[in-house]
């Protein structure tokens, strides 16, 4: 009981992992798990509806009002499907492969910073840990392809892992050029911890995407391209698309095992989007913290979570009102109106917290409001990236495998090396300038002594 | 139970080292021999980092990082040699890799 309440003390700042509070770390882990499950389900729905509307059709409309219950129907179908293991396949490795992929995708959530103390823990090597553990996902794919004991999955697995390994290099170099920017403080000491990176952006008063313009922007663009290739999403999804190699490494997986792969893929998408948001887009910081500062602007920006949910509730309500007034649509209409009511209630709750916590002291409401704001801005930026993933899938054709590898090694790697060198030179421009002056002076002295 | 001292880590490292040595000496599959060599290198690393903790400085950790880099280079070249050999002789049994025998 003491462990439960000791963390709620306002004098305790920091993540539960840093405070040594295991109970609250467990609670955070469960909350993150539940959150990721909700996000994956809604991503499934949003992807199908968005792709459909891009292709001027409607998408799922039957299962719930506007197909809102489609993810649940899909999950139910996958759970009830027959579990087929190919003959001559290695049963143990066949079973372990999706588990490895899932573990690699979910372990990175320990260090994702939703707020300055809203993370499970703050490791000293935060970004290194994230890059390393997400590179363990390659092992899951390789073992899945091998364990299926069939040609197409094996070729798909080898291609997919070659692609992931190639783009990891460009990703790592882009990350390093962002880490260089964290060391532009008085001590010249940078940091690898995720919370430290966002705090460095807060200290320098600029998102790293705008730092040393256009170097930060190019670095983020390289990372954005590489992360799409890392997660095997379009337009880099040759190894796993249904029309190529008959679905690649997860051909022989059906039912619940295939849904584990899907879950791992979406979780990895959220994880790499969080890396991009933390490193370049300022993490949990609201837009314009320096330009539009002050009590008034703080209050206006703290209304955003409530207004977002209010907007969603309004859209759902309008959708319910526009449904055909037919007897067959009665249940769907009632369901959508109930969904709109729930969203509206959440909106009202968030607005109440925003108003009650306005005084910016350490009351419970103010701390709730701060926490909600941090998480909201972080998730909003991650949601922008997730929508970009869906947009890429709808718009661009697939890369052929040799074109894919050519882009990874011959285009992204030299550009990211160049950006890294230029960022380092820009960060040390004072020292380089003085060194150059000293060298010129020394050469001038030598010439004068010779003459 | 007794508190965990660096000696506990040294014992674990010794166990891993001996397992690696057994693997190198007794297996016929070249890839598994290379994996046993990685076990040996890991045991040495664990030893180094345990001593670095004991003495309170970073020399052990820096050396361990260099050993990891070295192991990566060695694994890459060793597996390259294995692939080049496999192309010629279609076998990965160490007993059959005896080109110098008369």
């Amino acid at each position: 009981m003491n462990a439960l309440t000791s963390y709620l003390d306002p004098r305790v700042t920091g993540t539960p992992g840093s405070a040594g509070n295991e109970l609250w770390a467990f609670i955070y882990v469960f909350v993150i798990f539940a959150g990721v499950a909700v996000v994956v389900l809604s991503m499934n729905w949003i992807e199908r509806k968005a792709l459909a509307h891009f292709q001027i059709r409607l998408g799922p409309m039957r299962v719930g009002p506007h197909g809102l219950l489609q993810p649940f129907a899909d999950a139910l179908k996958l759970m009830l499907k027959e579990d087929i293991i190919p003959a001559e396949a290695d049963a143990v490795v066949f079973w372990i492969a999706p588990v490895i992929g899932l573990l690699a995708a979910f372990t990175v959530y320990i260090v994702i910073p939703f707020g300055p103390s809203q993370a499970v823990t703050d490791m000293n090597i935060g970004i290194l840990f994230m890059l390393g553990v997400s590179s363990l996902g390659v092992l899951g794919i390789v073992t899945a392809g091998w364990a299926s004991n069939s040609h197409y999955p094996l070729i798909g697995a080898l291609r997919s892992s070659a692609q992931m390994v190639s783009y990891e290099v460009a990703m790592g170099l882009a990350v390093v050029s962002a880490l260089l920017m964290t060391s532009l403080n008085t001590t010249g000491m940078g940091t690898l911890s995720m919370i430290g990176i966002v705090q460095a952006q807060q200290q320098q008063g600029i998102w790293f995407v705008f730092q040393f313009f256009p170097l930060g922007l190019i670095a983020m663009a390289i990372f954005a391209i590489a992360m799409v290739a890392e997660t095997n999403r379009a337009p880099f999804d040759l190894p796993e698309a249904e029309s190529e190699l008959t679905a690649g490494f997860h051909t022989e997986y059906s039912g619940l095992r295939w849904s584990l792969f899907m879950l791992g893929e979406y979780a990895a998408m959220i994880a790499v989007s969080s890396i991009a948001v933390t490193l370049w887009l300022g993490g949990w910081m609201r837009p314009f913290p320096n330009w539009l500062s002050g009590q008034g602007w703080e209050f206006i920006f703290s209304l955003f979570p409530g207004l977002t949910f209010g907007g969603l509730a309004l859209i759902a309500f309008i959708g319910a009102a526009r449904m055909p007034a037919h007897a067959y649509y009665r249940i769907q209409r009632a369901g959508l109106a109930a969904f709109a009511a729930v969203l509206g209630l959440i909106a009202l709750l968030l607005l109440a917290i925003a108003v009650a916590g306005r005084a910016n002291d350490t009351s419970i409401a103010a701390r709730f409001r701060e926490g909600i704001d941090y998480v909201y801005w972080f998730m909003l930026k991650v949601a922008v990236f997730m929508y970009l993933f869906i947009w890429y899938r709808a718009t661009w054709p697939r890369y052929r495998f040799d074109q894919l590898m050519k882009v990874g090694w011959k285009v992204l790697l030299p550009i990211s090396l160049g950006v890294l060198i230029l960022t380092a030179m820009t960060a040390l421009r004072q020292e380089l300038w003085e060194l150059a002056i000293q060298i010129v002076k020394a050469i001038w002295e030598m010439i004068r002594n010779v003459l | 139970m007794a508190p965990i001292t660096p000696l506990h880590y040294l014992v674990v490292a010794a166990a891993l080292f001996v397992l690696g040595v057994v693997g190198v000496l007794t297996r016929r599959n070249v890839v598994i021999i290379l994996m046993s060599i990685e076990l040996i290198l890991n045991a040495v690393n664990l030893n180094l980092v345990a001593f670095s903790r004991m003495w309170g400085n970073l020399h052990g950790q820096a050396f361990a990082i260099f050993i990891v880099v070295d192991a990566a280079a060695e694994a890459a070249v060793g597996l390259g040699i294995l692939i080049a050999f496999f192309r010629n002789k279609e076998t990965i049994n160490v007993d059959e890799i005896d080109l110098l025998k008369w």
């Binding site: 090597i125 | 880590y9 950790q61 990082i65 060695e74």
Partner: protein
Amino acid sequence: MNQAFVNSALNAGAAPIATTFFFYMLAAAAVLSGLLVITRRNAVHSALALIVTLLSVAGMYLMLYAPFVAGVQIIVYAGGIMVLFLFVIMLVSIETTVKDRQFNRMWPIGLVAACLLLAIFMGAYSKGKTLVPDRVAQLPEASNTQAIASALYGDVVKTIQFPNGRYVMGQYTFAFEIASLLLLVAILGAVIMTKKRI
């Protein structure tokens, strides 16, 4: 000398090194999967067991307050070298290797030699038990990366100095450069080895 060292460490108010449960769990996982590495008939099973070993050793590094070495281990070893191993296993594995005899004919001698080695280790450790202190002072974990960066690249060896007073040479800078040269040579070597026609 030994007793004085042990006493000084105890009087420094030091903390124990690791929580007991996690140490025994990770140690058992490492040794058990090490055993699986050397005894499996299938090379892919051995590779998966080696991955478990590498990750448990990374966990032990975390308990030893060496997070940077743990991160390097996960990225390079488990995420890079093991992927390379799995690739090569898939390229060179043929059906006859699984049905062949897996231990060579000299295996009793190898086992006896290894047991002798283990006996030497245990003898050395039991005789030198007093040299290892019970409790050691805690290394600061929150700045481990920065400390290693200083050791590798600056502020320790004060030779080359920038005009504003910042140093760029550390104790291990030279070894760092040689390591990068080693990696370059390894890349070239691996590429040339596996080319079909040089």
